[in-house]
């Protein structure tokens, strides 16, 4: 079954796009898009960068660390922005969480 509904994104979540939401570069229009059932979303540059890092293994905290280092920006501000963006996507039903791994 697909991931749970009503995901609450936090620093420790390890989100990933579900199989039915595809991040793709649209060569014709020269924009990134997320393809989903009956929807085409237009993520901004930051959202694209975040989503490319969200592979179901990295936590939201890890993603924020990487972006903070790359842009030499305050981590807490980035973390807050990333959570808002991902939560918006989750509320639309286009984000899932990797299940706990049994190690």
């Amino acid at each position: 079954m697909a991931g749970p509904r009503n995901i609450s994104v936090s620093e420790t979540s390890r989100p990933v796009l579900p199989r039915h939401a595809k991040l793709k570069y649209d060569e014709t229009r020269k924009v990134w898009v997320i393809l989903a059932p009956e929807r085409v979303l237009a993520p901004d540059e930051i959202a694209v960068e975040v989503l490319q890092l969200c592979n179901g293994e990295r936590s939201v905290g890890d993603v924020s660390d990487q972006l903070a280092a790359k842009y030499a920006a305050p981590r807490e501000a980035i973390l807050a922005d990333v959570i808002v963006m991902l939560q918006d996507l989750a509320d639309k039903g286009f984000l899932t969480e990797a299940r706990e791994k049994t190690s």
Partner: protein
Amino acid sequence: MSDVLGNPMIPPDASDSLAVLEKQRSTAETFGIPLAVLLEITHRCPLQCPYCSNPVELDRSGKELTTEEWKKVLSELAEIGVLQVHFSGGEPTARKDLVDLVKHASDVGLYTNLITSAVLLTREKLSDLADAGLCHVQISFQGVEEGLADRVAGYKNGHRKKLEVAKWTRELDLPLTVNAVMHRQNLHQLPDIIQMSVDLDADRLEVANVQYYGWALKNRAALMPTVAQLDECTRIVEEARERLKGTLAIDYVVPDYYALRPKKCMGGWGRQFFNISPAGKVLPCHAAESITGLDFESVRSNHSIAWIWQNSEAFNRYRGTGWMKEPCKSCEFREIDFGGCRCQAFALTGDAANTDPACALSPLHETIFKQAEREAEGETNRFLYRNFAGGTLESENGA
């Protein structure tokens, strides 16, 4: 994050895909190529729903594009910038090459939706479709229990089969949309249809009131809801949307006879939508062939799909506002709703360039509204079932 494509069948009002497309110059120069295209790959269907959106004159199987022709269409669509395709019909699974077509669409990078009645699917076939890259399944339901649902579809045991396929869909981890077409004879089941969608673990529910063209127009007296029914329907949808936020998204289409302003049909003729018929005609709307006197070009012609979209006479005839007569011509809403639906204007007034009578400014609005009210209160409940023979009237005892 902006949603640039609503339901492609019934595009959203304000922020349509053109906002994104017109900034970037795409293959078709003035009007950007649509993001999603509806492929009606066959008109064959085991169901006989009296409101079928297919034209009354159906394409016979001998006229259908071949597998190779459809593959060529899919490649061409991907090349010119289409992002999603909806495999529809008729019943798309009636074509034996569907898995092959879905695979090809995925290979060329298209996002694929299946719009199906589900009754011909086996679990194995659905699994093959998922393996071929199918991204989303939309199943039509005619009601919430088999007595009514099977009667509307004119197909025994269909409802039971649909429930089974919906379950397989979720087991295969495919997102599910329930498509419920609503009318006078099933609107009372709406609360249960919403619950059924939740129970089936659907992501989306389309509550689509019948739009009265083609088959549905022939069956209008048996289908038209009362104003009171419609108000109740709207209330139920609004309540459920709030209650099920994050669990089930609900799209809602009202019958426009009772509206004061017409719908922006297809987002405006030739602006953001086209579909391809079983025989390969490129159409501005799936009902467009009901407008006589328009010549629609085929993918079998010497022209590319982008050329047909951009330059063909049929697409340009009702594009923009230049074709309008009064009261549309000087109307402040002319670029908001583009005068409503051309097919409805043609069906009800005999001229597709007239204002859609759904609009309160149409001289025919009052007459049409009264007629709908009268039919809604009437006793006619027998259906004229959709088939290749031009329709068969339901027998008195409902068989």
